[in-house]
């Protein structure tokens, strides 16, 4: 059962990538719907198995860790696999209606979409440092391909910039992997952690950790390395922007977090943790401020991603040198933040796409009067915004509440300011969009009305993000399930 589910999880996205490569957009759409259903069922099944039996190691090719590659299927990984299934299916569904089937190059959307999904799953489950590198590259190239799709000059500029940043980040990560392999002779993350715990910590490896974190932070667009993100996320088609903001940037953060939690205790330091946290804090405030200042709607949402990603990096100071209980609290808060931001940001980009489609312009001030025509999409946008602000009872609130408690309990009260200011500033940019849309002095009356299902999808995501705050307990309980390392398959 478990073996079948794992095979299905690994096989489906790759197989569907090939299948959709062979057919055109319309057929690819139908094929994709089938694949999304399969993938959703498999992800749910795996989540249920792990929720009831606990995590396990999956040996690819049947080879044990130092020689082969093992996948780490634990509560956190399956939570993210399920999150990916939900968000990617929503974006795929939206894209299947939103994208124009008559543009020849849109047929290549589906294979890239499926490869992206495959890469994300590979990263969530990855337990091998080099395999994570390959997974990251799979994600980056697929994402760049999606941004560049259609080949307008502006899109190409954004895509090239994105590609360059992603490649540099990957190389920094790979350099760290080379150093760690040189030190320990193994690539398994679990093996490295065990060696660090058992023997005396070798000098000099902190540099390797710093390099890897630096590369991953670049790929996650941490301030001040965020310059590539807004153009790429702003110019891509809305379903693509949603995928990139909701999931792709989380993949590199996820690896950074796993590295920090496994190796940071030995190789990290208080100063490093505080520095990363401070950069995250600046990102929250600076990103929100820039979001407030943007002229184009999707740029507002993209800069909001820069800000929301900043919160994630509070994980580093809040888990270093604190008691296990506080660390767990911080980890849960960050995980909730990842999930709620993924749902809310996907909802926001998809509804922004609907609004732009409706008024035919990308500018915020062009939204005047749209509240009369597209209240449903605007409402989804607002609901997602509420979650970003961190108002109760949303998932964003639950996340920030946990972070707040962790900051207070660990005596790092200064992060409170970041949490508070970030919430207020995000309220400011969401209300600015709302204000623009309620101005009623326009005499333009020809709004294009997108189809009903385009409006339903962001609403579902926004409601999920809202509901996350209410069902945080069951989600968190699966996420932190004890990991039975010895169980094998």
């Amino acid at each position: 059962m478990t073996l079948g589910l794992m095979a299905g999880l690994l096989f489906t996205p790759l197989a569907w990538a090939v299948l959709t490569l062979l057919v055109d957009f319309r057929k690819g759409r139908v094929v994709t719907w089938l694949g999304m259903a399969v993938q959703m069922l498999v992800s749910l099944g795996l989540w249920a198995v792990v929720a009831s039996d606990g995590g396990f190691l999956y040996l690819l090719g049947g080879w044990q860790a130092p020689l082969g590659i093992e996948l780490r299927v634990d509560g956190l990984a399956v939570t993210f696999v399920l999150l990916t299934a939900v968000v990617a299916a929503a974006c795929g569904w939206h894209a299947s209606i939103y994208l124009d089937p008559d543009k020849a190059w849109h047929r290549y959307f589906w294979p890239l979409f499926w490869f992206l999904w495959a890469g994300l799953n590979a990263v969530w489950l990855g337990g091998d440092l080099f395999n994570l590198y390959v997974g990251l590259e799979l994600i980056s190239l697929a994402a760049v391909g999606l941004v560049a799709l259609g080949g307008q000059a502006d899109a190409l500029r954004a895509a090239i910039r994105y590609l360059m940043a992603a490649l540099l980040g990957s190389l920094a990560y790979l350099l760290g992997v080379a150093l760690i392999y040189g030190q320990f002779g193994t690539l398994s993350l679990a093996g490295v952690t065990a060696l660090l715990n058992s023997a005396e910590v070798p000098a000099g490896l902190s540099f390797a950790l710093v390099l890897m974190l630096l590369g991953l932070a670049l790929k996650t667009a941490l301030f001040p390395m965020h310059g590539w993100l807004p153009p790429a996320h702003g110019i891509a088609k809305s379903p693509v922007s949603a995928l990139l903001s909701a999931l792709v940037v989380k993949a590199s953060f996820y690896i950074a977090a796993r590295l920090w939690l496994d190796l940071g205790g030995h190789l990290g330091s208080y100063a490093l943790a505080q520095l990363i946290g401070a950069l995250g804090g600046i990102a929250v405030i600076w990103g929100s401020w820039l979001a407030f200042r943007q002229v184009k709607l999707k740029q507002v949402v993209a800069y909001s991603s820069v800000a929301q990603i900043g919160y994630l990096f509070l994980l580093f100071p809040l888990t270093w040198g604190v008691s296990d209980a506080i660390s767990l609290q911080a980890q849960q808060g960050i995980t909730l933040q990842v999930i709620s931001h993924a749902l809310a940001k996907a909802a926001m980009f998809l509804s922004a796409g609907n609004l732009i489609m409706s008024v035919g312009s990308n500018r915020v001030d062009a939204l005047a009067g749209v509240s009369r025509f597209l209240p449903f999409s605007l409402f989804s946008f607002g609901l997602a915004g509420v979650s970003l602000m961190g108002l109760p009872p949303t998932g964003g609130f639950a996340a920030k509440w946990l972070l707040l408690q962790a900051s207070l309990a660990s005596g790092q009260w200064w992060w409170l300011g970041v949490l508070l200011a970030g919430g207020l500033l995000s309220a400011a940019y969401v209300f600015r969009v709302y204000q623009a849309s309620f101005i009623d002095d326009t005499d333009i009356d020809h709004f294009f009305h997108p189809s009903r299902s385009l409006e339903v999808i962001p609403m579902i995501l926004a409601l999920l993000s809202l509901g996350l705050g209410l069902m945080a307990e069951p989600v968190l309980s699966v996420m932190s399930l004890p990991f039975e390392a010895g169980r094998g398959q």
């Binding site: 939103y98 390959v134 259609g150 307008q152 190409l156 500029r157 350099l175 392999y181 312009s361």
Partner: protein, 116 residues
């Protein structure tokens, strides 16, 4: 100190030369070459450091083979994007477009806003 380690240090030097070029140079093809130099440096370091005892280690060698293929995939994709970008905008750097290719802002907004 073994010859392998010497090559690992050569990898260190290549990485920093490449990094300097990658950050400072704006011409995209040159940037791409700088990326490949850093990549070669990382590969050298990986194999050189692992083989510091003098014995060949097939695992990092296999990893480097994988890495080379990933690097050529990225390079080839980047070349296609750069050439297409040059074809459309006449630019070889990522600088924002100059006034001479100014497109009126209104159609731009329309184009970006239209459903695709």
């Amino acid at each position: 100190m073994t010859p392998s380690l010497l090559y690992a240090f050569a990898g260190v030097a290549l990485c920093s030369i490449g990094l300097f070029g990658f950050v400072r140079i704006r011409h995209l093809l040159r940037k791409l070459m700088a990326f490949n130099l850093i990549g070669s440096g990382v590969f050298l370091l990986m194999v050189g450091l692992a083989q510091r005892g003098g014995q060949p280690d097939p695992v990092p060698q296999a990893l480097v083979l994988t890495g080379i293929v990933v690097a050529i995939a990225a390079t080839a994709l980047a070349v296609v994007l750069i050439r297409r970008y040059y074809h459309l905008s006449g630019q070889t750097t990522l600088a924002e477009p100059r006034a001479k290719r100014a497109k009126p802002p209104a159609p731009t907004a329309n184009r970006e806003g239209s459903p695709e």
